[in-house]
Symmetry: C2
Subunit: 617 residues, 2 copies
């Protein structure tokens, strides 16, 4: 045993149980029994193995502790009290409005890196932190993740198992609290802990099976985990839910409930304790840093045809040369998203995440939480695979930079499974999100550079086909802006596009001009935040707006425009063009035409808006 | 060997290779090398093991074949040609606009049950089909799933592995085409097929490792799979990508590309063949059916306080008694969603899917594809975990019935990780979706009954807290409707809510009435499709609208209302109330107030709309 002996550890475990019960008793809700099963596991960890400076939580030298089973939050808060990070009074503010001690942990608490509470996310995020420590910071810090056994049913956990072993993350320890009982009954595996051992070993991990209430066994397991090289370790701990309180011990029906008689339960556990734990601080060390340099973004000639996805890859590579904190990840499609250009230029800062989009995003979250500026890419359609991870990243208040290629029907023959058509809507709805959709290569490059400093969940939507360069390489583009490409004093109608439809709108304006209809054309490259001033000015000037988007009609460009104009006194008439059928395979131009979002469709909509009024008047 | 001998099988494999190359050559795109690795695996299957009546694809007695690696679509189309389902001419329409032979298979093809092309989905959908065959239809049909090795990195595959073994799906065979090469390089496992064997066995499967080009070994493996009881079987087949054509065989850089010299490749493979395969039809048999009965929906008294999630569970149980085709699944939160009521009443038609939301949705897809009317439930926030599966379900043209509980900040203390605040936006954006959000128990019951016959992806959003019953049990509610709860000739403003905000809007109307402001109140329980007539009438009558939703501002109720009003000649002014901050833990009423969507916030917005005009005029 290290610093704290078994007797003291057992006492600390009891304190953690009591302190799991007390805040839930005050709040009249919470998950005390889920904390009680893992109390000994955490007592041994914080007393003897965890290396952390609570005064400087952001230090790269600190170990990390993630409660993947976030509902056991009272146990985490009990730890904070024991280490002196929060007072007893604060512990009892649990779940009260305004308290940082929410139902599930969030980074409102200075010592929490990422929010948990959607199960199966803590371990894949831990993989990201492990990558940061081993390959980027290059420090001997460890990542400890407390997992529930119920969440082992989430596929994301097995993505984490595979990636952690692939990347030989010997700094990562998963601790599975096998208390057998989920929310409404037994898990599929129950107490057959050998099953977890076999699975973990088959995924390349060192697996240690213990009694999760035997503090000496726990201590030995953590020592073995810390000493194991070349592979991660999982401690599979058989535990008892509600351990120590007969009324709830190993009983179904006690998940997510305060105890009926907390005073009796606390008495049964030996009463309130005030053990103070001194967590060992890590040895001082400097994290590795990659050099910065001048930013030399790629430049594209006007009229050249370049896919914005290609510009992404080239701009990101330039950004990587300029900033040592930039890291890239991709989901096995780097030759399509063009993340491969970065991978070749900066191999030490590139992580291949294979076809595992949940792990892709989770790793990006973990890297950001450790201060690295990770850019993650895949087909935009496949970010939908990790939507819950994006949602939780917003709650984690981390910054994400997501680049999704192959947007919309403009991809052509591969068909609807590969087409992102809900992505703008789904990511716009994420709190703190930024949604960008450039139409040319120079604009893409500038926006990629801007992404690196943006706050929140930043999504860049890129195109598969080559599109003409329409902006000079010296033009600047800011997040939240829009570009008026054509305008005059006498505009009859405003055409608004983003991405591929900008080029269609320009062609439509040409066609309309021949008929004597003057169109204002707006490139709405920043869909969120949106340039309401430019839109409102156009609405006031023209009174008629056509929006065209390579996306389904709900929640995309058109709806964003409508929302930006909602509170105007005078409203324009708005015709929203979008993909209103389930698209088919076909050539890009055939599909843009079939779904009415090509130049012809846009021009027809403009005529309809103008004509219907003529008829009406 | 059964009907077809090894020599013929090898020839058929060569035909499949040639026919994987030919359509891609015409289309100048596609994934021929991915079909070529699995050609022998499929030759042996369709010639000797697959039981299918191509004239009656919907027959419950038919085996099922799912191409989980949907990009190998030319191989599937080659099979269709060999069995005489399509002509050679039709084969060569691959990827042409209007052809049913899209880049990835979709159910536009009569013999395709579900769309694939987003990797890692075919196997979990196969689990749903296996459940249908074994526990519902109770027929000896088999489900065969061709998987790629790259997609084994998707966690959803391991959800499928765990659930298939938990449910002892001995009718399910996964065939992993281990060709080593993904899109941009080698997989994490490569040709170490033993790794897959260990993992599969650790997950409770029978695993058979073979050379995937040895037709006799393949034949033996399928025979063993069909004869294995109590557990599913996986055939782990070591194969060569691009097998048979030296220029591409086992070479990186040939994923998703037509061959450079297709004629030479076809010659190397021995030329075009016209082998016709006679697929054995299944033995005639009648599927098991559960009895129907009268529909007796639960009835709630006016003024009673009942959570809509509870009404869901009770109504679904009644529906289950009325209709033998109704099945329920839940993601280990049945005591929160109240799916547990159904589980107790109809245990033979309930499947616990544990905390594996991707498998939850995939199983529902598989059940629907086999004609069962599956209702899947979890917290609404956690459907985000399976968003890609919902997206693909729309491409599969299956009906889904999803019920998500714990919507919005009204859940209270559990905090933001458990609150659905993007769900309306994300599901509205899905093609063919229906989004319902009832506010009382009787309305919920009627909508649950309506869901059973609705087309498309139907999402019902339910509430955690008890809400007062405001509708008589005899009132009818149709999908696409809205209910005007209050109106008069002189309404000054319209208040629109859905779910919990309906009750807040009613209270706001009371408060405003005391000040002499008359408010129309609309319950927008059907957010998509939306009752544009009722909204437009309100807009014309009052000219001012306040929308209030327990959801983020983008893509929800407010944006749906704006979209419905966009093309009006005269526009109302619309003030959109929504959750505009990252919410905290707290009491439901504290949170509704803090984020401005309670009665007070709604009344204040109404006053602002009226007052600003008074000031302006």
């Amino acid at each position: 045993m290290a610093a704290v002996d078994a007797t003291q550890l057992r006492e600390l475990g009891q304190q953690f149980r009591v302190d799991s019960i007390r805040p839930a008793a005050v709040a009249k809700s919470g998950h005390p029994t889920s904390g009680m099963s893992a109390a000994d596991l955490m007592a041994v960890l914080v007393a003897n193995h965890f290396r952390y400076d609570f005064d400087h939580p952001k230090n790269a030298t600190n170990d990390r502790l993630i409660f993947s089973k976030g509902h056991a939050s009272t146990l985490y808060y009990a730890i904070l009290r024991a280490v002196g990070a929060i007072s007893d009074e604060e512990l009892l503010t649990y779940r009260k409005f305004g308290s940082m001690l929410e139902g599930h942990p969030t980074p409102l608490i200075p010592w929490v890196d990422v929010a948990t509470g959607s199960l199966g996310q803590g371990l894949p995020i831990g993989v990201g932190m492990g990558l940061a420590a081993k390959y980027l910071d290059r420090l001997p810090t460890r990542v400890w993740v407390l997992c529930g056994d119920s969440e082992m049913a989430e596929g994301s956990m097995w993505e984490a198992f595979e990636h952690a072993s692939h990347y030989e993350l010997d700094n990562l320890t998963a601790i599975i609290d096998v208390n057998r009982l989920g929310q409404r009954g037994e898990t599929m595996v129950g107490w057959n802990t050998g099953v977890y051992v076999e699975r973990a070993r088959a995924f390349g991990w060192n697996a240690i099976e213990i009694d999760g209430h035997d503090v000496e066994a726990i201590d030995r397991a953590y020592t073995e985990a810390s000493g194991t090289t070349g592979k991660p370790t999982v401690v599979i701990a058989r535990t008892i839910k509600g351990k120590g309180v007969k009324a709830v011990e190993n009983q179904p029906g006690w998940h997510g409930k305060a105890l009926d008689d907390p005073d009796a339960a606390i008495a049964e556990l030996g009463g309130v304790r005030n053990i103070r734990v001194e967590v060992t601080k890590p040895e001082p060390a400097e994290p590795h840093r990659f050099p910065d340099g001048p930013l030399e973004l790629p430049r594209y000639e006007l009229g050249e045809k370049v896919a914005t996805r290609k510009a992404y890859g080239e701009a990101l590579t330039a950004l990587g040369a300029a900033r040592g904190d930039v890291v890239a990840l991709d989901g096995e499609v780097g030759n399509s998203t063009f993340a491969e250009i970065f991978a070749k230029a900066h191999p030490e800062r590139y992580f291949e995440m294979y076809i595992a989009e949940q792990q892709l995003i989770a790793a990006a979250v973990g890297l950001h939480a450790r201060g690295w500026n990770a850019f993650a890419s895949t087909f935009a359609a496949f970010f939908s695979r990790a939507y819950d991870f994006v949602r939780m990243a917003a709650i984690s208040r981390v910054n994400l930079r997501l680049t999704g290629s192959h947007a919309g029907v403009s991809i052509g023959e591969d068909g609807p499974s590969q087409m992102a058509l809900e992505d703008i809507a789904s990511i716009r709805a994420i709190h703190s999100s930024v949604v960008l959709h450039p139409c040319d290569a120079n604009q893409t490059a500038k926006l990629v550079a801007a992404m690196a400093d943006a706050e929140g969940i930043v999504f860049l939507r890129t195109l598969r086909p080559n599109t003409p360069v329409i902006y000079d390489a010296d033009e600047d583009f800011e997040i939240g802006g829009a570009r008026v490409l054509r305008s005059s004093e006498e505009d009859d109608v405003t055409l608004i596009g983003a991405g591929v439809t900008v080029h269609e709108a320009l062609q439509a304006a040409d066609a309309l001009e021949e008929e004597g209809i003057t169109a204002r054309v707006i490139d709405l490259y920043s869909i969120k935040p949106i340039d309401a001033d430019t839109l409102q000015a156009a609405a006031e000037a023209t009174g008629r707006i056509v929006t065209a988007e390579d996306h389904y009609p709900e929640g995309g460009v058109g709806d964003a425009v409508l929302a930006a104009l909602a509170e105007l006194d005078e409203h324009p008439r708005v015709l929203k063009l979008a993909v209103r059928e389930m698209p088919r395979s076909g050539k890009p131009e055939e599909l843009l035409h079939a779904y009415g979002i090509d130049a012809e469709g846009i021009a027809a909509a403009a005529r309809q808006l103008i004509g219907s009024e003529v008829t009406a008047s």
